[in-house]
């Protein structure tokens, strides 16, 4: 809703400018006019997107980072997807390749839906209902980071994943009628959101069961991923066969997107500011040194957007020293969230909760470790350390290379040393970072992590605290939390349908308060992300999606 709120203000500015008799045709005025009187969308052309970090994978059944989802949700439509709208409306699930919303029966454990007729992949091949089964099997075979969403709920998915079955017994697909039936092991209120993951985006049966990031498979959607040069560049090319009526609610794109990895966010921001590139990736932060310039010189094409995200340091509860609750509490007590906010150029809402503000379940009580906007109590933290008996324990702190995350970890490492740990930093290339710390063999002790909502439901965040989500590779439960109370609460809360989430808001709040008290992570901020384009792009019509950031299908040239 942020963009919709801004438009009347921009339009009003246009009226004021016009009333003043200006004929300068300034950029501000042009942008304002285009917003106030939307013209027919201009099709054609190519724009350049710069990214500070490459997606983990471009293969839809492997990609699980924000950067991967930006491309995959437009190229691999699943049975369900999200409305191409900004604000809260963008969090609404709409039918994708399914004709309509599913029929839910058997106490919330059986979902039945029918595939739209005459759908085709980008290579012209017809879409079959059985491709859905194959797609889920492929996500499991490729160890997709969120596969526990499938194995925890779809009947037979865990057995298939463990190699004990040759197919997923809970999914039945009839190619002749297009009917798909999914049986769950337990009701799950956010299951439609699970079906809306880009990783559940259909690929043809027979697609290789290996990482195809360098040559992504055909999908169904307004775009195709082409010309991949690993970790350097690729093109999000419009699918010529896609029209705005192929799937209602999924528009055909206006321009092709050339995605390039920038050497750093400084270069990235400078190029967009100077209009030599067109889109600054929303998952990156504009460096503090350029923020003022961007705000003044590009006020008509820059707008910070609130995101439903949590930035935190994970604390591995299964190994020394953070298997000790007092040691974890010491870290949470000592963490200076204001300091971390300064490293982020002031773009954080400081927090100690896991569930971010704006999401149902965000606690409204006092933080157990003092005011997150205040000065931390180091004396108390050191006392907790003494009680924990973990003084002198060696700790390796894992970090990405990109700023300001590397700087967060430099601060955090210093803090751990002040507390009495023997901490040292290990920096991993951004593209490999999460798969590295997500490898259970490494048993990473602590380090940086963040989570942006996959879907507007607290159960999405609690995947990271769910013992059932721990997996050997691509693990997302970095703290390796195995808490019986959390498990029992998740069993009760996860089945609640999205429409009834408000009725259990207080229970989610209690759970998040419990998580904070147990100090399973050290949360520190909820981030604002930049929507920042060149002056070639019509800023007024561009959509900032609450889940996937810049909606490339809405990008058009002026």
């Amino acid at each position: 809703m942020k963009r919709l709120v801004a438009l009347p203000a921009v339009a009003a500015m246009a009226i004021v400018v016009a009333a003043c008799g200006s004929s300068s045709g300034s950029k501000n005025e042009t942008a304002a006019k285009s917003s106030a009187t939307p013209a027919a969308a201009k099709n054609g052309g190519k724009v350049t997107l710069l990214m500070g970090t490459a997606p983990d994978y471009l293969d839809p059944q492997e990609g699980y980072t924000t950067q991967a989802a930006e491309f995959d949700w437009l190229s691999y439509t699943g049975l369900y997807t999200y409305a191409h709208k900004g604000g809260d409306q963008g969090g609404q699930v709409i039918p994708g390749l399914a004709q309509d919303f599913p029929t839910i029966s058997n106490g919330g454990k059986t979902y039945t839906m029918t595939l739209r007729p005459n759908l085709k992949y980008s290579d012209g091949k017809a879409v079959k209902a059985s491709d859905f089964t194959y797609t889920i099997q492929r996500a499991l075979k490729l160890n997709w980071g969120g596969k526990s969403f499938f194995t925890n709920y779809i009947k037979g998915a865990a057995a298939y994943d463990a190699g004990k079955a040759t197919t997923i017994s809970g999914i039945k697909a009839e190619d002749s009628s297009g009917k798909i039936t999914i049986d769950l092991t337990q009701p799950y209120g956010a299951f439609l959101n699970v079906l809306s993951f880009p990783s559940a985006g259909l690929v043809p049966t027979g697609t290789k069961m290996s990482n195809l990031s360098n040559d992504p498979p055909p999908g169904v959607g307004p775009y195709m991923i082409k010309n991949v040069v690993p970790n350097r560049s690729w093109t999000l090319q419009r699918n010529p066969a896609w029209t705005s009526t192929t799937v209602p609610g999924i528009p055909a794109g206006h321009v092709d997107i050339d995605a390039k990895i920038a050497s750093d966010t400084q270069t990235e921001a400078e190029q967009v500011l100077n209009n030599s590139a067109d889109i600054f990736d929303w998952a990156d932060q504009i460096p503090p040194s350029l923020t003022a310039q961007v705000k003044s010189k590009a006020a008509d094409r820059y707008m910070p957007q609130n995101t439903i995200s949590t930035f935190y340091f994970f604390l591995n509860t299964q190994t020394k020293p953070f298997n000790n609750q007092l040691a974890r509490e010491a870290v949470n007590t000592a963490l200076d969230r204001s300091a971390l906010n300064r490293l982020n150029g002031g773009n954080f809402k400081q927090t100690c909760w896991f569930l971010p503000e704006g999401l149902i379940g965000h606690p409204d009580g006092a933080c157990p470790y003092g005011d997150p906007n205040g000065t931390p109590d180091m004396a108390k933290a050191k006392q907790l350390m003494q009680q924990s008996g973990m003084v002198g324990q060696p700790v390796t702190v894992w970090s990405e290379t990109r700023s300001p995350r590397k700087e967060f970890v430099a601060y955090y490492t210093d803090l751990l040393n002040q507390l009495g740990f023997k901490a040292k930093t290990k920096v991993i290339a951004d593209a490999q970072y999460f798969s590295t710390i997500g490898n259970l063999k490494l048993n990473a002790q602590t380090g940086f992590a963040d989570w942006n909502q996959d879907f507007p439901n607290p159960s999405d965040f609690y995947l990271l605290m769910d013992a059932n989500s721990i997996q050997q590779t691509n693990n997302e439960n970095f703290s390796q939390v195995k808490d019986p109370h959390i498990q029992s609460e998740l069993r009760a809360l996860n089945p609640v349908p999205a429409s009834k989430l408000n009725s259990v808001a207080s229970r989610w709040q209690a759970l998040d308060t419990y998580t904070a008290q147990k100090a399973y992570i050290a949360a520190f901020g909820q981030e604002q992300q930049p929507m920042f384009y060149s002056n070639r792009i019509n800023f007024g019509t561009a959509v900032f999606h609450p889940l996937y950031g810049n909606d490339f299908s809405s990008i058009e040239l002026k």
């Binding site: 750093d264 966010t265 400084q266 460096p287 503090p288 040194s289 350029l290 923020t291 003022a292 310039q293 200076d336 204001s338 300091a339 906010n341 300064r342 490293l343 982020n344 150029g345 002031g346 000065t375 970090s399 290379t401 700023s403 300001p404 590397k406 700087e407 970890v409 430099a410 601060y411 490492t413 210093d414 803090l415 040393n417 040292k424 930093t425 290990k426 920096v427 991993i428 290339a429």
Partner: protein
């Protein structure tokens, strides 16, 4: 007339070269400053190279502003050269970074020299198959540009460390970039050394030693080695200077010194993103790097001139 040894003669020539001595002194001053880093940090700046002061104030100003911009030089004891984005004292990190850079350059030079002497002298003395194998090995390393080879090795070893037989180095150890730089510069010393030994082994005094029945090892140590020492001495300052530059380059690219250890290269790299608002973060380590490398290079040229045989002939006349 009393004779004078070649090294005494070289020292006499070097003392006359005021420019070389002045730049040598610049290098020595940089080294002394870096060695005194703990004293400066403890008694003057009252901090450590990795201590963050993000929410502290100095002279009533934020060390790092709410918008994330660090303070510039205060010209006082604390934050004399300003702070970096983490609120760390730049002057302290500069001196500690210099220690790290010089340590790596020193160890790298030692490794280069030892390996170059063993390989160069063996290849030149034994010729034949030994020379063939060793020289092709040197060609293999030589074929790769220094920085590309360094980055390839540095990024690989930064994660897993170095495990070679009984040697185990952790990924964030300063020895990792030292070993990498030491190895990649071996051909640059070993090849000229091999050429010199190929000539020396045909000289009369080597033939005489062979006739007397001296073993190959003894000939290499007592007859060949003393005649290549001056070449090695000329190489030392040049290799140190190059090693300092290479370390800075590798650290800048993230393949050298690992966080939170400072080095001049990592300091420049960290400062790049704040150039528009905090240019001191790149200028200060850059100037230190330039002073150190120019000092060593000009001093190295002076040493070379002093040891140059042609110059000796001229002086004798």
């Amino acid at each position: 007339m009393e004779g004078i040894g070649p090294y005494a003669l070289a020292w006499r020539r070097l003392r006359r070269n005021r420019t070389a001595l002045a730049f040598g002194a610049v290098f020595v001053i940089v080294v002394l400053m870096c060695l005194l880093a703990p004293v400066y940090a403890h008694d003057i700046a009252h901090t450590t190279p990795s201590a963050n002061h993000l929410t502290d104030k100095v002279d009533g100003k934020d060390v790092v502003s709410v918008a994330g911009i660090p303070i510039g030089p205060t010209w006082h004891g604390r934050f004399f050269l300003g702070a970096d984005s983490n609120g760390r004292d730049v002057a302290v990190r500069l001196l500690y970074g210099g220690r790290n850079s010089l340590f790596i350059a020193g160890v790298a030079t030692l490794i280069t020299m030892i390996l170059a002497i063993v390989i160069g002298v063996s290849a030149g003395y034994f010729r034949g198959a030994v020379d063939g194998v060793l020289s092709r090995g040197l060609d293999l390393v030589w074929a790769y540009p220094v920085v590309i080879l360094g980055v390839a090795l540095g990024t690989t070893l930064a994660v897993g460390g170095l495990n070679f037989g009984p040697f185990h180095l952790k990924g964030n150890s300063l020895m990792v970039p030292a070993v990498i730089i030491g190895v990649i510069y071996v051909p640059y010393v070993a090849k000229p050394l091999r050429g010199q030994v190929l000539t020396l082994r045909e000289r009369e005094f080597v033939d005489a030693a062979r006739t007397l029945g001296l073993s190959s090892l003894k000939i290499m140590l007592s007859e060949i080695a003393p005649n290549v020492v001056s070449t090695l001495i000329v190489f030392i300052p040049l290799i140190v200077a190059n090693a300092i530059l290479t370390e800075a380059g590798l650290s800048y690219l993230g393949a050298g010194v690992q966080d939170p250890n400072p080095s001049w290269g990592t300091m420049i790299s960290d400062g790049i993103r704040l150039i528009p608002s905090a240019i001191h973060l790149t200028i200060v380590p850059g100037l230190m790097l330039v002073a150190c490398v120019i000092g060593l290079n000009i001093f190295g040229d002076g040493v070379r001139d002093a040891l140059d045989p042609r110059a000796r002939v001229r002086i004798e006349h």
